[in-house]
């Protein structure tokens, strides 16, 4: 599994490097703005950092999906499937590497955000004002925002990403199995992904819609919900790869 993950990382490290470089660029601007008391500069860099966080996580996740699609729809599939590894292991390595990358990137961005907030707090000595500001940015509400809800909300976002990756893997594998060689395979994979995601989203709203979005019961339930569904989709996808997919 470790060897498979090593090669999965090798396939995607350029994209991760790009996101890291972009983050470093905005962080440097932020630090320069803070230490030179240029509020416009650090304000703009925060927007840049938020943009990089959202897009970075998105790019890392989507690039992993693109790699799976390439791995099973091209002759490069032999590189994986001729090795003495089961489809469960091969997919598991992909989910762990991609999910792990999103998780680590998410934690990295959270840590960076906390450090940057702390720096602003120390620099401008307005702790409550700063937390209120972050609370408004994230939840639109200063009352509900606490450190624990911030951490749980962040974990929730990361796990919902892992779940979406699993849904996308399922969609890609279903389309590769049924429509091998079809020109609109990619488009149909995307349509399948949207359909599955919408169905699950409706189920999610039915089960958890009654809770307030940033309440602790909702956040904890969300995490359980996404973990459970990620597992289900992983097993279905691996089973299809093992039994129905022709490489």
């Amino acid at each position: 599994m470790g060897t498979l993950m090593k090669y999965e990382f090798r396939k995607t490290w350029k994209m991760k490097g790009f996101v890291l470089c972009l983050t470093a660029f905005f962080e440097l601007i932020f630090l320069f703005g803070v230490f030179s008391d240029n509020e416009d500069l650090w304000g703009s860099s925060i927007v840049g950092l938020i943009f990089t966080t959202i897009c970075g996580l998105f790019l890392i996740g989507v690039y992993g999906i693109h790699i799976l699609s390439k791995d099973i729809n091209s002759k490069q599939s032999y590189m994986l499937f001729m090795t003495p590894n089961s489809s469960y292991k091969i997919l598991g390595a992909k989910v762990l590497e991609n999910g792990g990358s999103v998780l680590l990137s998410g934690l990295f961005f959270i840590l960076l955000a906390i450090l940057d907030i702390m720096l602003l707090v120390v620099r401008y000595e307005d702790i409550q004002g700063m937390l209120d500001l972050v609370g408004v940015i994230i939840s639109g509400d200063t009352e509900e925002f606490t450190y624990s809800s911030f951490a749980m909300a962040s974990l929730d976002v990361v796990l919902s990403w892992v779940y979406l990756i699993c849904v996308a893997y399922l969609a890609v594998v279903i389309c590769a199995t049924l429509l091998k060689g079809n020109r609109i395979n990619g488009l149909l994979s995307f349509v399948a992904f949207i359909i599955i995601a919408i169905l699950v989203d409706n189920l999610h709203d039915t089960l958890l819609g009654a809770f307030y979005v940033y309440s602790m019961p909702r956040l904890v339930s969300n995490i359980g919900f996404y973990l459970f569904l990620s597992g289900i989709f992983y097993f279905i996808t691996a089973w299809i790869m093992d039994n129905k997919l022709s490489v």
């Binding site: 060897t3 090593k6 090669y7 090798r10 396939k11 002759k75 490069q76 599939s77 032999y78 590189m79 499937f81 001729m82 090795t83 003495p84 590894n85 089961s86 039994n243 997919l245 022709s246 490489v247």
Partner: protein, 236 residues
């Protein structure tokens, strides 16, 4: 021993392989012959455990082929399949990471014989060079079964000789070598048996020497005879 029991593979209504039963024994080199689309590659992929038959089964040493048999079966596809970012050296490292029977020493020797540098980027290789790398990395495994799908495709005469020499050198008493090709004449001097496949069916398995002695025909003549007017049956 590699055995195929009534193996059939269908793809969305099209039958690629139809009820093929045969037995391949160690110590022999087999040629798998047949026109394009006859089912050679599909059968090989099933034997390599890459795809599952619709019905029937293939066994390697009395165990159904699958993840475990991939440790002993070295399959080489006709198309280039290495990752774009790989160099010739990376390909060797990849095989070393995944196959216990891979020898980097043998790989290095074969690359040297074929005048290939490890620093060369795979995506920049000519078709001849790519064919040589594929053969080198496959034959650098000490596998029990080698299945080479069209290893002579798209390469010049000299490169063909190098590839065939590499293949012959790795034939052994305990190994099964299966080579598919359209170049019947090239294989004639190398193989013991020829497996003829046509329209997804097994036409027959013939011992090359026996063909020469008993029927007085070469493998190429037999090929012309079979594909000129396909008949089912044949000696096994």
């Amino acid at each position: 021993m590699l055995e195929s029991f009534g193996v059939t593979k269908k793809f969305l209504g099209k039958t690629a392989v139809d009820s093929i039963s045969m037995k391949l024994e160690p110590g022999h080199i087999y040629a798998m012959l047949g026109p394009n689309g006859s089912g050679k590659t599909t059968w090989m992929k099933m034997a390599a455990g890459l795809i599952k038959p619709t019905s029937g089964f293939i066994k390697y040493n009395n165990e159904s082929v699958g993840v475990e048999s991939r440790k002993h079966v070295a399959y080489m596809s006709t198309e280039p399949f290495f990752y774009d970012w790989m160099t010739v050296g990376d390909v060797g490292k990849y095989y070393q990471d995944f196959f216990e029977d891979f020898s980097m020493e043998v790989y290095d020797e074969m690359l040297q014989e074929m005048n290939l540098e490890k620093t060369l980027k795979c995506k920049e290789l000519s078709s001849g060079m790519m064919a040589k790398v594929k053969v080198a990395v496959t034959m650098a495994r000490d596998a029990k079964v080698y299945m080479l799908d069209e290893p002579l495709n798209g390469i010049d005469l000299l490169a063909r000789d190098e590839v065939l020499n590499a293949i012959i050198r790795h034939a052994g008493e305990d190994k099964i070598l299966l080579v598919s090709s359209h170049l019947v004449e090239e294989l004639e001097s190398v193989v013991d048996y020829a497996i003829f496949i046509s329209n997804a069916h097994l036409v027959g398995i013939y011992e090359v020497e026996e063909l020469r002695q008993n029927e007085g025909v070469s493998l190429a003549d037999k090929y012309r005879g079979i594909y000129g007017s396909v008949e089912m049956g044949g000696a096994c």
